[in-house]
């Protein structure tokens, strides 16, 4: 269970977004990716999954470079939930079942066992009542839950989630994170990298934080001083108005 990023440079059209980034995550759990808009959170996540080819550098999973892993095998190791996704009209159950695609042979359609797996995760997400509804008829937040269920149906050790809570209300964000936490500990530990905007979610549920700043990535491991060290690193990004409450939450003081 280890992701290593070595000297990674990535961007679009000569516009470098990440420059000579190196870090290592060697422990399972939920790793939050923080950073202001446009800092490169999506770029990093897509590069980690191999959906963007970096200009320079490499990513290794359990010491194997990503480019040496064939695409079908990758899909059994790494699952990815994009920020924006299309879903052609299909039932939620069919949509979630697509998570089993890496386990199908080329001419195969999903079998009963794949559907059962999908149903299990649909139930865990609490959206069983929607399973026969069309993905075009449910709300954006519900679709995100369905997409998370699909991501877990893929049954991979590594999971990359790009702003999965962006369409959820405050209560649902908490529920969502609790589900991610519970599922991450199921069977064996999973390593989840998840980008969000709310640093408090990261403090609450994170086993560590990756902070993108000035094209670099800072690692903040979970320690007793988790909140304090995060605050120290966030002030140069968001300014001096950021404060830490006695309960250990970050808030803005005017």
């Amino acid at each position: 269970m280890k992701i290593q990023v070595k000297d990674l440079t990535a961007g679009f059209h000569k516009n470098t977004i990440l420059e000579n980034v190196s870090f290592e995550i060697s422990k399972g759990g939920i790793w939050f990716l923080l950073g202001p808009n446009g800092s490169g959170k999506s770029t990093l996540i897509k590069t980690l999954g191999g959906y963007i080819t970096p200009e320079k550098g490499e990513t290794l999973y359990d010491n194997v470079p990503l480019e040496n892993i064939p695409i079908k095998k990758r899909a059994k190791i790494i699952a990815y939930m994009p920020q924006k996704f299309y879903s052609q009209s299909m039932t939620v159950e069919d949509f979630v079942t697509m998570g089993a695609t890496p386990y199908l042979s080329p001419f195969q359609q999903p079998q009963k066992s794949h559907r059962e797996k999908a149903k299990k995760y649909i139930e865990e997400m609490g959206i069983s009542h929607l399973s026969q509804r069309s993905t075009e008829e449910i709300s954006g937040g519900e679709l995100q839950l369905a997409c998370l269920a699909k991501t877990f149906t893929q049954e991979t050790d590594y999971i990359l989630l790009d702003e999965p809570t962006s369409g959820l209300d405050v209560k649902r964000q908490q529920d969502f994170m609790k589900k991610v936490k519970a599922l991450s500990k199921e069977k064996q530990n999973k390593l989840i990298v998840l980008s969000v905007h709310d640093p408090n979610l990261a403090l609450q549920y994170g086993d560590g934080i990756l902070l993108i700043k000035d094209k670099k990535v800072d690692i903040i491991p979970k320690t007793d001083e988790f909140a304090e060290s995060l605050l120290k690193k966030l002030i140069p990004v968001y300014g001096n108005d950021l404060n830490l409450s006695e309960e250990g939450f970050l808030y803005w003081k005017n």
Partner: protein, 332 residues
């Protein structure tokens, strides 16, 4: 779902039977039964049925299905329900090939057909090559490349029409461009089926991958399917049937667009579940168009007159239905 697929299949068979009976030389179902069992008295009826009627009916029934499946595949590949198999210029390529052969090559039917088939594939290959220059959005690149090649081929086609002999060649060209199955023979039927049966079966077997691809490139890749390779493979598979049918029958418009729509409206929107129904519906529509084309007047009329007419009537119906749709759905 299964029941509705069965209904389309039965409708397809029924229309094949009707179409085999109806014509300038009408045959009854009893005649056909006697002919098939080899007990019919009239040699004319027997040879008419085996040499003219049957190849035509089967070519239309099969060709319509093949065009419809290709259309559905293209629509899914491009995530756009209004895309037709012509989006990459296959039909215009075939047209240029056919007209080129009529004007400049020795006049033989097989030369026109091969020229049309090859030009159709070449134009699509060229469009794919052009689209590879757009790295960021492959689908947009393909649509743009399709527009470019279609526009270029239509320019070439206009030049060909200009230089052709207006008395002898131009009517032949125009007639070809409107399509028709009047020259169907057993050998053409065998040719079309042998070129298209493998691509059709492969598209059917691989249909779940197509559905995964419809989630978008990143999602497909994260599920272990290489988006670019799969997309190009399906484009080749879907282009072969269109090119084959158009090269023997001329331009047959609209079937690839309407048949998948009807199936999506009435049966299922899921490409992994509706492909069989799309095939039969395409066949049914083309048989109907062909019935009109050869029976509405003493003269054999081009088939695209009827497919275009059906198409526009059907789209009008869709628009009006949407207008009155209280739920205000925004999907076509």
């Amino acid at each position: 779902m299964k029941k509705r697929l069965l209904i389309t299949a039965l409708l397809w068979v029924a229309l094949i039977l009707i179409s085999a009976c109806v014509g300038r030389y009408p045959l009854s179902l009893e005649d056909i039964f006697l002919i098939i069992t080899g007990r019919h008295q009239s040699a004319t009826a027997v040879s008419l049925f085996w040499e003219i009627r049957l190849p035509r009916v089967l070519l239309v029934a099969y060709g319509g299905g093949a065009l419809a499946v290709s259309g559905a595949v293209f629509q899914t590949l491009f995530s756009n329900p209004l895309v037709s198999p012509d989006v990459l210029g296959v039909t215009s390529g075939c047209s240029v090939g056919a007209v080129f052969a009529m004007l400049f090559l020795p006049s033989a039917v097989w030369i026109i057909q091969s020229s049309a088939f090859i030009f159709g594939l070449l134009v699509v290959a060229f469009a794919l090559f052009l689209s590879s220059f757009v790295k960021s959005n492959r689908i947009l690149g393909m649509v743009l490349a399709g527009i470019i090649v279609s526009s270029a081929t239509s320019a070439v086609l206009m030049i060909f029409k200009m230089v052709s002999d207006p008395l002898n060649q131009l009517p032949k060209i125009e007639y070809w461009l409107m399509g028709g199955f009047q020259n169907a023979t057993n050998s053409k039927l065998i040719l079309v089926v042998s070129i298209t049966i493998i691509p059709l079966i492969l598209m059917y077997l691989l249909r779940y991958r197509l559905k995964v691809l419809s989630l978008g490139d990143e999602q497909a890749q994260s599920l272990g399917i290489s988006p670019l390779k799969t997309r190009i493979f399906f484009i080749v598979l879907a282009t072969l049937p269109v090119s084959a049918v158009v090269s023997v029958a001329g331009v047959v418009s609209w079937i690839g667009l309407i048949a998948p729509h009807i199936v999506r409206l009435c049966i299922s929107r899921d490409i992994s579940k509706n492909m069989g129904a799309v095939f039969f519906t395409g066949g049914v529509l083309l048989i109907a168009a062909d019935l009109f084309a050869r029976n509405i007047s003493g003269l054999e009329l081009p088939i695209s007159i009827f497919t275009s007419l059906f198409g526009s009537i059907f789209l009008t119906f869709l628009l009006i239905r949407k207008f009155f749709d209280k739920k205000g759905g925004n999907r076509l």
